[in-house]
Amino acid sequence: MSRFEDNLWARLEREQAPTLLQNMATQRRKRTARWMGAAAGVAVLGGVAAATYLGGTPPAYAVVDNPDGSVTLTIREIQRFEEATAKLRDRGIPAIAVPLRRDCAQQGNTLHDPLNAVEFDLSPEAFNIKILRDRIPAGGTVVLATDKARGDGWIITGGVYGSDQLPGCLLDRSPR
């Protein structure tokens, strides 16, 4: 680059980089607000809960045993969703990951009672899926599914199904 171009870049970096970083942070906060707004609209119907994550860059996952006996699966890297779900099985929780499809016809047998065995908590950085293992009935399996949502986000959904009639996929009901 020429001297003029180098000097202009040095000046831009010195004087405008803070503005760029501030704007990026503001945009992230707005995305988080959209995400939290989506979380407020989480529906729990027939034992199936769904939430939409509308932004952010995902890293890794973790499984934490809570004092009340429940288990929280935190997923920051959505591409490792199946691997993260397998960690639940390591903790003795029957759980599988299946594809999320718009044309899914394999509904399986949703267990309606007890409700809220799976809770979604959306923080700015990750999905938190809380599994209340004492609410999973005998013969029940937690089924989770994820896929890209509209924009640059992801939708995640799941519920408790009868182990003898598990769905091969879950139905994507998100708007496009």
């Binding site: 001297r3 003029f4 202009l8 000046r11 831009l12 970096e13 004087e15 970083l21 942070a25």
Partner: protein
Amino acid sequence: MRDHEALAAFERVYRDNVGAITRFFARRCTEPQLVADLTADTFVRAITSFHTFDDAKGSAAGWLFGIARHTFAAHLEHTARSRVIVRKAGGRRELDRDELAELEARIDAEQPGRVLLERLASLPELEREAVELVHLGGLAPKEAAVALGVPKGAMRTRLYRAMARLRAVVEQEARADEQV
């Protein structure tokens, strides 16, 4: 995109396009200091709105030329907005001798471009700008469409019409020369 990635991404956009943007202004102005100020204004506008840039909607070059057009229009109209931008950039920076020499050389190099722009003066504004961005600025037609804010199909139509008009002008001038 993480913060440090955003700054690095903007630096790539800057380094890939600063030459073309400087030439864009060097075709319009013969004062090195003004070329420098307008180039700086363009990149100040770009860096402060980089969080809105979406490369899925078009290239960075098209986006930057769109900003450059608005910067030049603001300069011509002496709008309050352009003055605000200059203040945000920390005011006008005087060029040193080497920078002046560099920009004078660029302005000289753009002389043929200025002549072509004068010949294009009879065309409607958008056609004129379409020809300039594609044939002098080196943008692909779809990038020029982004810069001008027109649909890609409309850009092809404008380019076709503009070239047809130019051919007609050149042929008319040739006939006039023959009669002399």
